[in-house]
């Protein structure tokens, strides 16, 4: 039996990762939609059995129209928040994935797919967290470098001394070095 799943995801790398997981769990067809434009219509045209979208995506509200699509009482797409599977739903929420399923799709067919989706979305979440940590570290290093440069010029000291001074000040004030550096950079810009 065919199982057609639509994944709404902008980032192609993430989308591919999720798609692989879903195919491994028995999805016969996976369609990736990466654009918000006409989202509800595009999904309706696919006639999917299930739609997956990140919980944090503001585009999710576009999908709500589908729950009203052909008359409110026969609900072609019902939302997957099933109390009988509350463990899995909680896992889905903490992994940041939300799912819409076609009404009447049997529970045992949904389960492996959703489990696979949860695992993949967790991976995506972890990647995203790592990326933002790396980015933050980079930015912090940049601002510390600028502060060092300011100190070296203003006090005529070498790099090591400037670094030591920043670190000492941060420790004395119980602050992060990047914060002290940022304060110095901001202040120096004001004094220009």
């Amino acid at each position: 039996m065919n199982l057609h799943i639509v994944v709404v995801e902008k980032d192609p790398e993430r989308a591919q990762m999720i798609e692989e997981g879903l195919r491994g769990a028995g999805a016969s067809e996976v369609t990736i939609i990466s654009q918000d434009r006409g989202l509800a219509r595009k999904i309706a045209d696919c006639h999917p059995d299930m739609v997956l979208i990140a919980l944090e995506s503001p585009s999710r509200d576009y999908l709500e129209e589908l729950t009203l699509a052909t008359g409110p009482m026969d609900r072609p797409v019902a939302m997957f928040v099933d109390k009988s599977e509350s463990n899995m739903t909680e896992a889905a929420i903490s992994a940041g994935v939300s799912a819409y399923v076609v009404d009447g799709l049997r529970q045992e067919r949904i389960k492996p797919i959703l489990e696979a989706a949860i695992v993949r979305f967790q991976m995506v979440q972890k990647m995203r967290a790592e990326l933002s940590a790396t980015r933050r570290a980079l930015e912090e290093r940049k601002v510390i470098d600028r502060a060092k440069g300011l100190l070296m010029r203003a006090r005529n000291i070498d790099e090591e001394e400037a670094y030591g001074l920043l670190r000492k000040t941060a420790m004395a004030q119980g602050k992060k070095m990047a914060d002290v550096a940022q304060a110095l950079v901001t202040a120096s810009e004001l004094l220009k």
């Binding site: 919980l55 995506s57 503001p58 509200d61 576009y62 709500e64 729950t67 008359g71 929420i93």
Partner: protein, 392 residues
């Protein structure tokens, strides 16, 4: 008092103010609440967080608990409204293309007269009119529907009311996906500032005093947790009272601009009712642009829920009378009286009222005799009496 943990979900909008202020100004602490605020990216996500118990309460579009009682839209749970967080706060805007046509036809953007604006819009739009609203179940959708269907004019062949998440509204206009919108501030002003939209009307021009967001919980939660529910409701009531005081509004805009992705200047427009309708246009003073407290704004009138229930029923083929009754039951003025007695809250004697009957501020019976209701007229002069079966 041992601090009780409480989790509330919200969307980053101007009308999240009662939650944000409760945390910033110590109203939570005063009630012994250790408050955790969780932002959500969409109404559907927030609704699911509430349904699943990820949050205890949420800032919710008023029609959402009503729709949950009517079984519309695949709601995962039943909800009820304990208090109204704010009245009004919405604007209707049109694309520059439409605005230019309306202007050529001799329409003067008065930001006031819904009948004239509606007629001008229908004349200018031709066969197709696509209006963006934030959610299928929203006061915005109700205002737009009531406005267009009561003009007594033929509607465009292709009239679509589309869901567009508020922060994406300016982009949707820019991309030509919609011709007009009804959205909560600051997103209407955001579209104006980007030179994409001309504001046509405030929501108040259609319904003078329309409930917008409600403090919403799962059905039965407040009865199961009476102590924390009482603290929560007192906290929100104090927060709304503070926000309802004119001299606090500037500070409110400042505090909100820290928590929302918007500058204080833009927030201020809704807060003070001085709306900039276009980049070329002048400022329009708008009464009751957003109300958090005055006019018994916080009181969950069952008649408001009944009106929304009846309108939803008419559009979705349900029985309007039964739906109005089911809808009314999702508003809890009984809990409002129970929990807010004795802290200075004025408690109206009735739980429902005739909607749309007031064109001037009017005093009504209450336990302290201080309740003044604000003008709540529908633009076409209709009234809705929840007790009359032939209403609507």
């Amino acid at each position: 008092m041992k601090p009780a943990p409480l989790r509330l979900g919200y969307l980053p909008l101007v009308d999240a103010a009662p939650f944000l202020i409760a945390q910033s100004l110590g109203f939570a602490k005063r009630e012994g609440i250790s408050l955790e605020l969780r932002p959500a990216a969409s109404w559907s996500a927030l609704r699911d967080m509430l349904a699943m118990g990820v949050v205890d309460g949420a800032q919710m579009l008023v029609p959402v608990p009503v729709a949950s009682a009517l079984g519309l839209g695949g709601m995962p749970a039943r909800f009820e409204a304990l208090q109204i967080l704010n009245m009004n706060g919405n604007v209707i805007g049109v694309s520059q293309r439409l605005a230019a046509r309306m202007q050529n036809d001799g329409y003067e953007f008065d930001f006031r007269d819904a009948r004239k604006a509606g007629a001008a819009l229908l004349r200018a739009c031709g066969k197709t009119l696509r209006i963006g609203v934030p959610f299928p179940f929203s006061t915005h959708a109700e205002l737009v529907d009531y406005w267009l269907t009561h003009l007594g004019l033929p509607l465009p062949e292709n009239l679509e009311i589309r869901t567009v998440p508020p922060p994406l509204m300016p982009d949707a206009l820019d991309a030509g996906e919609i011709d007009a919108f009804c959205v909560g501030e600051p997103w209407g002003s955001a579209a104006v500032d980007r030179g994409l939209a001309h504001l046509l009307l405030p929501g108040t021009a259609i319904w003078g005093f329309a409930p917008e967001k409600a403090l919403t919980v799962r059905q039965g939660w407040a009865e199961d947790n009476p102590d924390i529910a009482g603290r929560l409701m007192r906290m929100i009531w104090r927060s709304c009272r503070w926000l309802g005081t004119d001299r606090n509004r500037e500070l409110a805009s400042d505090i909100l601009s820290d928590k929302l992705p918007i500058t204080a200047e833009v927030i201020d427009r809704a807060m003070t009712g001085r709306m900039l309708t276009s980049l070329q246009g002048q400022e329009q003073a708008t009464s009751y642009m957003i109300e958090f407290f005055r006019g018994a704004a916080t009181f969950p009138w069952r008649s408001q829920a009944a009106w929304i229930g009846m309108r939803l029923a008419q559009r979705h083929g349900l029985d309007p009378i039964i739906s109005a009754q089911k809808a009314a039951a999702t508003f809890r003025p009984d809990l409002y009286r129970f929990h807010l007695r004795g802290i200075g809250a004025d408690l109206p004697g009735a739980s429902g009222k005739v909607e749309g009957a007031l064109s001037v501020p009017t005093a009504v019976a209450s336990d302290q005799g201080k309740t003044i209701l604000l003008p709540d007229r529908f633009y076409d002069g209709q009234v809705f009496d929840p007790d009359a079966t032939n209403s609507g």
